[in-house]
């Protein structure tokens, strides 16, 4: 059973309370069509569980296959450094079919971030090591492709449709509760 080798810390991007019953982490690629499909499903799963779920996103860009994936990940990290990771994350997935330099700069402006600063960050590779760190941690945890989900640190090998994710999360919640009782 593959498990998350890099623990989730405060430096991760997360939504939902730290005290949530369950944490689901996704390793994803903004240019990966499967991740694009998973995006609204994850949103529905988050809505379904509310405060009981904490969601974490880590970068796993397959840059050779997806030429804009690395820059998209760095753009999200740039926004994250200015407190707008999730806004950018959503916009990138929502505009997946138009990824590219022009879109990234436009999205920065839309979020009232400096397009000039973003361009400098991308050119200077300011967030490259952070993205690579996510990637290598993912490889060591058994991420073989995207999206890969971990539920309470265990890799979810089932499909990522709404029902499968909900079921897996519910199982993780009941496992945690029964352990707590014991």
């Amino acid at each position: 059973m593959a498990t998350l080798k890099v623990p989730i810390t405060s430096t991760d991007h997360f939504q939902g309370p730290e005290s949530a019953d369950v944490t689901m982490a996704e390793y994803g690629d903004y240019e990966c069509p499967h991740c694009g499909r998973a995006h609204p499903i994850v949103k529905s799963v988050q809505k379904y569980f509310g405060e009981r779920l904490r969601f974490v996103f880590r970068n796993f860009p397959l840059g050779e296959m997806h030429p804009h994936a690395e820059a998209a990940a760095e753009t999200a990290e740039f926004a994250g450094a200015h407190g707008k990771f999730w806004e950018m994350h959503d916009l990138l997935f929502e505009n997946q079919d138009r990824l590219g330099g022009q879109l990234f700069l436009g999205l920065a402006q839309e979020l009232e971030l400096s397009a000039i600063a973003l361009r400098q960050a991308l050119e200077g590779g300011e967030f490259k090591s952070r993205v690579r760190g996510d990637f290598t941690g993912g490889v060591r945890s058994g991420v073989n492709g995207t999206p890969t989900f971990f539920i309470n640190g265990r890799r979810h090998d089932g499909s990522f449709d709404f029902e499968s994710l909900v079921l897996a999360i519910e199982e993780a919640i009941s496992a945690t509760k029964s352990t707590a009782k014991a």
Partner: protein
Amino acid sequence: MPHQRRGKGQKEEKNAMTIVKTVPDSPAGSHSKSGNDAHALGAELLAAGAVAPNFNLNVTPDQTLSLSDLRGRPVILAFYPSDWSPVCGDQMALYNEVLPEFHRFGAELLGVSVDGVWCHRAFAEARHLHFPLLADFEPKGLVARQYGAYRAKEGVSERALFVIDKNGIISWSYCSPIAVNPGAEGILQALEDLSK
């Protein structure tokens, strides 16, 4: 490094690190070891401690590569059933991205399948692969058989991984269910263990 068998100029040389494969998709049949013809022939997957059989396979239409050419550094041999099949594609695409980590250990990655050189070339170009794909094409699957990683029934190699140390001894091997991408974690762990 691949040695030039007969020089065909810079263009071929440039493509030395690009590979393509052409093996038919593996049938989604039994994944069990017991159903494997390699086993019927008594060929077990070579395990840690065994000497890695040397080979000389085409890496481009004009160049061949021998395992012994790489003596002195770790080698990762990744046998896979065929170019173009979805799982292989994902596995090779993943290794392509993980290459910098493999290189950190000074290791060379070689992909091997029974596909021919032209198929390998098309596959490597389509996927922008930056590591060599070797054609275990004629006699078909000979190297895979020597490593105990051949599925005679389907005529393709297993999805088998070997990490070979700088002296040519296998230090780790793993055979994945054929439809499952084994990822890179086992390889990285084996390389880390080697460097200790």
